[in-house]
Amino acid sequence: MVSVSPAKAASPPVPVAARPRRGARAPLLLALPAVVVLAVFFVVPAARLAWLSVSTPELGLGNYTGLASDGVVVTVVLRTLGMAAVVTVLCVLCAYPYAYLMTIVGARWRAVLTALVLLPFWTSLMARTFAWVVLLQDTGVVNGLLAAIGLGPTRLLGTTAGVSIAMAQVMLPFMVLPVYAAMRGIDRRLVDAAMGLGATPVAAFLRVYLPLSLRGVAAGATLVMVLSLGFYVTPSLVGSPQQSMLAQLISVQVNQLVDFGAAGALAVTLLLVTLVLVAGVQRLTRTGGAPVGLVGGAGS
């Protein structure tokens, strides 16, 4: 190393070429502690659970076939899918005009509208869910409003209607942000061009703007669907055990029945559905950053 020939020492490529190689191994070691923690306390437990689902009480797919033929489980799965669909539709209906509004207002109002979406997104899920328990109680604010317009009072706490109202509000940010991202990228001159060529505003919207924004809607809808399928806190507290959803069923299998095989089979099924849907979103959006950064905020 010391006796470098003058010719070599003079040429800059040597140190430049040497650096990345030396740097290539040292930084990789820096990832090791985090990789070990994630592997031991996340990957191994997940793999163990998947293994338990095919090995307890005996080797085979007994847990999966057992669940598929259990009427209660099938009912809960169908209810969960139905609830996720209702929540998704509610979120699309609310998020679309809201996101559109974000694209046509000035910078200051856009900041306000964005803050309104992000604030609840990061506010404690427990606090928000408790707030919904208070709002939806028989003498609560929502029932007061319903009574004022002649629709109530009606029972909301412990019903699927109450759960979908609360969940839609909790999920709304996950829909607004991707829809807004898609709309922001739409070239408004395309709509103007359509109208210049004689399209009515409605036709221009339906034939030009709507198709261009659908990618964001699809991404948001998938995110909301995924999060709703695995949602635990809000359905547990706002809903009732008689109307339980998939995550509650998994929790009951573990805590009350101590059946890790069945719980594992349900968890693996939920995970597979989630991964398929997320892979679909990734293909659709190809951006990754924003949607992925959002997923954790739910804390489910």
Partner: protein, 262 residues
Amino acid sequence: MRSVGLRRALVAIGILIGAWLLVPTLIVIPISFSGEDSFAFPPSSWSLRHYRTFFTEPSWLNALLISIQLAVIVTVVATLLGTAAAFALSRTAFRGRGALNAMFLAPLIVPGIVVAVAVYAAFLQWGLIGTPLGFIVAHTVLAIPFVTVNVGAALGGFDRTLERAAASLGASSVATFRGVTLPLIMPGVLSGAVFAFVTSFDEVVVSMFVQSPQLQTLPVRMFTSVTNEVDPTIAAASTVVITVTTALLTLAATMRRSRRHA
């Protein structure tokens, strides 16, 4: 281009949805100052008694203290591990990098209940249920992705020529990191740390499975309160939690803005 009427309708819808997003969360604040033992809204009398209960009754106070200690430890551990990992992932190209990246994002994507049951089954075997260590590692796993995402973003917009300049002026790689790289990615590290804190401080589902009656975090205590009792102390707890997280996230947003201006 669009008619004024349509714009007015959109603004009205926007206000309604904005209120729907914001107001439900804020309702806990007046209830926390009520003088009654119910969740009646609006309260007919006002007092600070629910705060007194929250800060004196052991089951609430201990849960708060445990949550704060836990969040601080998790923040330190996750920030250190996550920053180092983000650095490694952004600076090296190797086979399997995609898989490693996926592993770092997985805790964000896997449903909370799946993580909770997996962790519960493993921790039961390993004797980690109801232990501080169990909480620390479970929350660290959930917090690391937020650090790697934030630090990764900061490193992505980073001008490597600055490091080469420092190195060519004779700085060692450690000195370059401390003197050049770290100060530049600091806003990303700090916002990652804030997200790590908030993640641990708010986490419910996994904590429900790791907890024991002797060791409960604040969100777990709140969950139990909603299921088992009608006690407005939870409104005081919610208000405290909302205040803490809002303050921290405002801090993070300010730091991100300063990063953009830097």
